[in-house]
């Protein structure tokens, strides 16, 4: 198989983040410092080498960028200021844009106008839907309170419409994400002509996907356990909230005010604390810029944090206003909540930073598929 060299790759990758791809003189310090780099899957130096040589296909078929959890040890010890940690981050952004078949991801990553513009557009559409769409469909809200003194929220946001919309959004986002993962699978496993992975290995190694999604053990191996905890707390809170809002919305968005120890409220509080804690660590970290992992912030990193924070804060406010019977405040923040949440999920999950929630565990899964790959029988072999 011939190897194709893409000299333009360097300039393409420069658009995805900071870092000097040509500074590396290959001393190997980064790879040896890395707590996650293991035999057969060595990074960051090897990936920098691929980049310097312009081997686009090799980069696209590598899982290693997703195995890096950016502790920053490589960057702080690099004798050349080549910033390997950020280069791996840029590679992840690049790979996200490669897996995405719509081409939108590349636009969002390389153009701030595109990213912020589309977020604003979707936000405006959401506001229009609430202010014009729902009244036009014949729904009118009431400012009357329930017997418990709570806001009749379902009169403003009819539960079956919101639920239908949630499901539609979940299907669109899920569909995009799954198709991207299939492309990822194709590039990493399927395209490899020399090896194949048996069906049994796929089944046997599947637990790794579930395990890595829910626990992120690799993140824990990165030196600082505090970051693993804050990330895991945020992730678990987010996952619970996502399932509750999409699958169990009629159970979650009730007009009846349940006692605080009821599962509905308890789960909500857990998710809120998890999200807030994780966000606080990430935002203060990025503002203080003390740790190498937080030193360089791309627009996509900040957008994600800001939007998630807005979502959580507006969610808390809706909850408070609803319980204390303030209908107008509740409804206004409900619109803001949705105007932030919907674009965040539509843009970030399939096309941008948030897609890592799928790519990272799948990368670990694919990594283990790769280690168990067996040589494919070639025609020459079969003749013999």
């Amino acid at each position: 198989m011939s190897v194709r060299v893409h000299p333009e790759l360097r300039n393409q990758l420069m658009q995805f983040g900071i870092g000097d791809w040509n500074a590396c003189y290959h001393c190997g310090t980064c790879t040896a410092m890395c707590p996650l780099s293991e035999e057969g899957f060595l990074f960051p130096r090897k990936k920098i080498r691929l980049m310097q040589m312009g081997l686009k296909n090799e980069i696209e078929s590598s899982v290693e960028p997703w195995l890096c959890y950016y502790c920053g040890d490589c960057t702080s010890t690099c004798p050349r200021d080549a910033n390997p940690g950020e280069l791996m981050m840029s590679l992840r952004r690049y790979l996200t844009s490669i897996y995405d078949w719509t081409g939108l991801s590349k636009k969002f990553y390389t153009s701030e106008v595109w990213e912020i513009g589309s977020i604003l557009l979707i936000a405006v559409l959401v506001v229009i839907a609430f202010l014009i769409g729902l009244p036009a469909m014949g729904y009118s809200f009431t400012t009357e309170l329930t017997s418990q003194g709570g806001v009749k929220i379902n009169s403003f946001a009819p539960i079956h419409i919101i639920e239908a919309f949630d499901w539609a959004m979940a299907i669109v986002v899920g569909g995009l994400l799954i198709s991207n993962i299939l492309r990822m699978y194709y590039k990493i496993i399927w395209k490899h002509g020399h090896t194949k992975v048996t069906f049994w290995v796929h089944v046997r190694e599947f637990w790794r996907l579930v395990f890595n999604f829910s626990v992120q053990p690799k993140f824990g191996k990165c030196d600082d356990k505090r970051y693993w905890f804050s990330h895991w707390f945020l992730m678990s809170g987010y996952t619970i909230m996502f399932i509750v809002v999409v699958v169990f919305l009629p159970w979650f968005q009730t007009e009846k005010i349940l006692p605080p120890w009821h599962l509905q409220r308890a789960l909500g509080y857990y998710a809120t604390f998890g999200l807030l804690f994780g966000l606080l660590v990430a935002i203060t970290g990025r503002m203080r810029r003390k740790d190498v992992k937080f030193y360089f912030s791309h627009v996509s990193d900040w957008l994600f944090l800001v939007m998630l924070t807005l979502t959580v804060i507006t969610g808390i406010l809706i909850h408070i206003f609803r319980i204390y019977g303030m209908p107008y405040a509740t409804y206004i923040f409900y619109i803001i909540h949705m105007a932030v949440l919907v674009p965040m999920i539509l843009i970030e999950v399939p096309f941008s930073k948030w897609s890592h929630l799928a790519y990272r565990p799948f990368a670990v899964y694919f990594q283990h598929l790769k280690t168990h790959a067996v040589p494919r029988k070639t025609k020459i072999n079969s003749i013999n």
Binding site: Y25, G28, M33
Partner: protein, 606 residues
């Protein structure tokens, strides 16, 4: 060169050179005052391609083109081509490279203007900028008694001129005296150095001043007045017979500077047995008498009356010299700054200089390689009872070629590391040696051959710098990447040697202020011209020798010592010395230009 008629100046200051410190506006204003300058262009004035340039040259009828800037040579071809296309002589493209012409890194506006004025007049800067001369005092001061300073002193003394050799420590010899062997010839360092040291001591033209420091320098080229602090040695150098009785009785101990702390010395000591002068001295910081007022053991046992005077005080002397040779040497990189290698925490991680002492027959283990072990009090020391290492790793480029520490290559580490491999195998046959390098730099006469020789010996030389050293089960565990194999490399060894780089000595900063000579970015003294004048400084009568100018090996230091001496002797023979180059004011240059152009015009009429 005839006086140019219609000249154009192109200022080449590309925007990407962020470090361009030159005030171009001022230079343009100055150039406009010359009548023969017809046009001035700046980098951003037009898109400069061949066609465009040719058009402009033709339209303005330009005969001469001066390209001025930091690196104008990069665009010279383009301008020459454009001149040729326009039908003019392409040789009339003149470069005003501010990096050359002795402008150094200071970028003094007057000097830049001088360079421009000369070139506009069609004269080279060198023919115009000749400094005034001073009569010269034939005595020379050499600062630093390492191999470069020794060489320079001897060269001058052989020409029957007086030399003051000032050395900060108690003995001359410098770093080379601490080495065991020199690469690539594997000469015994002491065997080739000590005869020279003795010669320094015996030569009547050399006034050896050890344990002294230069305090102040005043005056100008040809006649410098230097104030020197003579530290109290507290032992009379003239009467001390070097018997060693005092050291035997002295109760106080301190780490030996000469052995880089690998062994202990007494408070009254001789730095090493072959020290020059071969006399004892007292370290005021560790002496019990000087701290508590009680002891005087050395005075009691000294067989020479009044030889030891514990109450001696520092004093100062002032000397007058015509030339000064700076040979202050280097400081080894502090390996504790790179915590990942564990130096200072792990007892058997050594720096290369410590290992030199370990190899040396006069070192702490008598030239046998032993691991560091704990004594009864729990201190980590070298003894001959300790075990010998079976596996040794040598890590190259510690502190060098590293943007976190020193960007430059220290030039000697690759070679001395290879030398270590050879010497370890010589002393411990069958030992396993691993060298971890990034790039092997074996430049120089016989060096590559030496590398090949080591490759044939049983040494594993691996490409890939080690990332970290940790202690595991009492052994040292290394982790790195084997670049060529593309594998993680893990190894457990008994001893790790860090090939530390060279840094500018601490006193470089003070000396540069005292002497008024600039330092370059990396902290070393700056020479006038890297290629063509590596020993002179921008101040007349002050020269550089050895590693104070930049990392270099022994042969280069010796060569530079001789070269610096030649410069001093040159002025002594002539009886006159040029003043500082930077001291020529712009008006003088302008006057000279006028004079020279008049001469040229007269020649033409003849």
């Amino acid at each position: 060169m005839r006086s140019p008629s219609k000249t154009c100046i192109f200022f080449y200051n590309p925007q990407f050179s962020d470090f361009d410190p030159i005030d171009y506006a001022e230079l343009i204003r100055y150039s406009m005052t010359f009548p023969n300058v017809s046009r001035i262009w700046k980098y951003h004035d037009f898109i400069w391609n061949e066609q465009n340039l040719t058009d402009k040259i033709e339209a303005n009828g330009i005969d001469h083109l001066i390209v001025a800037g930091l690196l104008p040579g990069t665009v010279k071809t383009l301008f020459s081509k454009a001149m040729a296309i326009a039908g003019k002589d392409p040789a009339n493209v003149i470069l005003a490279s501010f990096n050359d012409y002795y402008t150094g890194t200071t970028f003094d506006m007057d000097r830049l203007k001088s360079v421009l004025a000369c070139l506009i007049a069609g004269l080279s800067y060198e023919t115009v900028a000749i400094p005034d001369e001073n009569p010269v005092n034939p005595a020379t001061l050499v600062i630093g008694g390492g191999i470069a300073g020794i060489q320079a002193s001897l060269e001058i003394a052989y020409s029957n001129n007086h030399v003051y050799l000032v050395e900060k420590t108690g003995t001359i010899g410098g770093k080379m005296a601490t080495f065991d062997k020199t690469f690539p010839t594997l000469d015994c360092a002491a065997c080739i150095l000590t005869p020279k040291m003795v010669e320094v001591n015996q030569n009547p033209f050399i006034n050896l001043m050890t344990y002294c420091e230069v305090q102040e320098v005043s005056g100008e080229a040809g006649n410098y007045s230097v104030r020197i602090l003579m530290r109290a040695r507290k032992v009379n150098v003239k009467t001390c017979i070097g018997c060693g009785t005092c050291t035997e009785k002295c109760p106080a101990q301190a780490p030996s500077e000469f052995d880089y702390g690998t062994s202990m010395r007494k408070a009254i000591y001789m730095p090493f047995p072959q020290a020059v002068p071969n006399k004892y001295m007292i370290d005021a910081e560790s002496c019990i008498y000087l701290k508590t007022g009680k002891c005087r053991a050395c005075v009691k046992v000294c067989p020479v009356p009044d030889c030891i005077n514990l109450d001696e005080q520092d004093h100062e002397v002032t000397i007058n010299v015509g030339n000064i040779i700076v040979a202050t040497g280097f400081k080894p990189f502090d390996a504790k700054k790179m915590d990942q290698f564990g130096y200072g925490r792990l007892p058997n991680v050594l720096t290369s200089l410590e290992f030199e002492r370990l190899l040396n027959a006069s070192g702490p283990t008598g030239g046998n390689i032993h691991l560091r072990s704990q004594d009864k009090k729990g201190n980590w020391i070298f003894t001959e009872e300790a075990e010998k290492p079976e596996k040794v790793a040598i890590i190259h480029c510690v502190g060098s070629r590293d943007k976190n520490h020193n960007k430059y290559c220290s030039r000697v580490c690759c070679m001395y590391s290879l030398k270590f491999s050879h010497l370890i195998l010589e002393k411990l046959p069958g030992a396993e040696i691993h060298e971890y390098f990034i790039d092997m730099r074996s430049f120089g006469k016989g060096y590559e051959e030496f590398y090949e020789r080591i490759l044939e010996e049983d040494v594993s030389i691996v490409r890939g710098k080690t990332a970290k050293v940790e202690e595991r089960n009492g052994k040292l565990f290394l982790r790195g990447e084997d670049i060529l194999k593309g594998e993680i490399l893990e190894n457990t060894v008994d001893m790790v040697i860090l090939s530390i780089g060279l840094e500018a000595a601490e006193e470089t900063r003070d000396l540069s202020r005292m002497l008024g000579i600039p330092r370059s970015e990396d902290g070393f003294f700056e020479e006038v011209h890297y290629n063509l004048d590596p020993t002179a400084t921008s101040r007349g009568g002050i020269y550089l020798a050895g590693t104070c100018q930049g990392p270099k090996d022994i042969p280069d230091s010796v060569a530079q010592g001789s070269a610096a001496a030649a410069r001093a002797i040159q002025s002594i023979l002539k009886g006159k010395i040029y003043k500082d180059l930077i001291s020529i004011p712009l008006e003088t240059i302008e006057k000279r230009i006028n004079k020279l152009t008049l001469v040229q015009l007269e020649e033409k009429h003849l």
